[in-house]
Symmetry: C2
Subunit: 250 residues, 2 copies
Amino acid sequence: MRNFKMLIRYDGSRYKGWQRLKDNDLTVQGKLQEVLNRFAGTYVEIIGSGRTDAGVHAKGQIANFHLDTDASPEDLLNYFNRYLPDDIAVIELKECAPGFHARFNAISKTYRYTIRTSNIPNVFKRKYEYTYTDYPLDVEKMKKAAAYLIGTHDFMSFCGNSHMKKSTERTIFSININEKESVINIDYTGNGFLQNMVRIMTGTLIEVGSGKRDPESIPSLLEGKKRSLAGFMAPPQGLCLMNVDYSAKG
Amino acid sequence: MRNFKMLIRYDGSRYKGWQRLKDNDLTVQGKLQEVLNRFAGTYVEIIGSGRTDAGVHAKGQIANFHLDTDASPEDLLNYFNRYLPDDIAVIELKECAPGFHARFNAISKTYRYTIRTSNIPNVFKRKYEYTYTDYPLDVEKMKKAAAYLIGTHDFMSFCGNSHMKKSTERTIFSININEKESVINIDYTGNGFLQNMVRIMTGTLIEVGSGKRDPESIPSLLEGKKRSLAGFMAPPQGLCLMNVDYSAKG
């Protein structure tokens, strides 16, 4: 049995996220499964690095699958891209170590959230940005607030799943906020993220930037461990999974 | 009466082009008219630099309109962007000389056609590119062929309107072809373009690049003055109006 690793990009606009839940849900994993199952003539599970929410995009999703085949990685890559819809693409596909597991071996992930702060939309990127113009955003305050989120914390207050029974502790390695010509990009790198966590952190940082919250309110918000203490959930279209890291830490 | 000039961007995917033909056609001009007419309380004609075909995009369309108003250009710009759909944006709006006419005063226009030559689509730009993978494209041959198109010629063979009764003579100032990482951009600058002309030139250049035609066949093609002599019409989504020039020539 050979093990294959692939780098996937998708425009998540029309999908109910990565994960295949019910047979009729339109999901990215489901579309990939359809193509791979057809190639293999049987069900071959595609293991993603993790789920992305409905409407969220990816430039660097990673997945792997085990398959007994004589086909070359290039043949497989071409097969995927021939039959996938044009909003999903396999960018790279190569054979990997037999024990590689896209979810278990992931050390860190980087998500980017893109906010446009101008009334003038970018018509060509409008599906990949969230336009926020209610108040001007003070990026320095957002950076101060973000600093409190970095490190190992219980992120219960930032978890969109109120029935979460597993640990809600996660480690955020870095949050980089950059502003350029009416666009604010927030890059979050961490060892993992809870459901909706990046979008809730983004909504909270926007509330700080707009003056509704103080940066110094973040520690008590983390300590309170209640979703209602955090900010609004920023909409999905501004979010993109940029990278999944499997190399040794540090 | 004040005269206002505006710079407009649009994703043309869902429009039947720039021009308002019938009341029910979904057009870019129609959408702009709706907003301006509402602002003015009466019909105020928006004069575009020229038409773009159905499905063609613009980063630099120019239009003007005459209006008796106390509103500032900024107020007008904000009004447009508040009520326009998110695939049309007014990027700049300023008062201009009373005699300025977006169509008559245009000295040159630049269109870009974008071809992707890889089987791996760019999922985020797929609506703004034409993917051509039938044969590899020889860009040097395309450049040779393009050189024959530069200058003043009768472009009848490149005109999509078979009932064209006006002059089909146009001057092309430059055609620049650049290839970078599976993307070929062709920038056409000319004093004006006939209906579908840029797309037919692009299809013809693709046929040259793929080896179906010789670069040296272009002069006889121009001389023949028959649409059937030229190549296929490249699809609209790869085309974008980049710039309209009103400054003095050269």
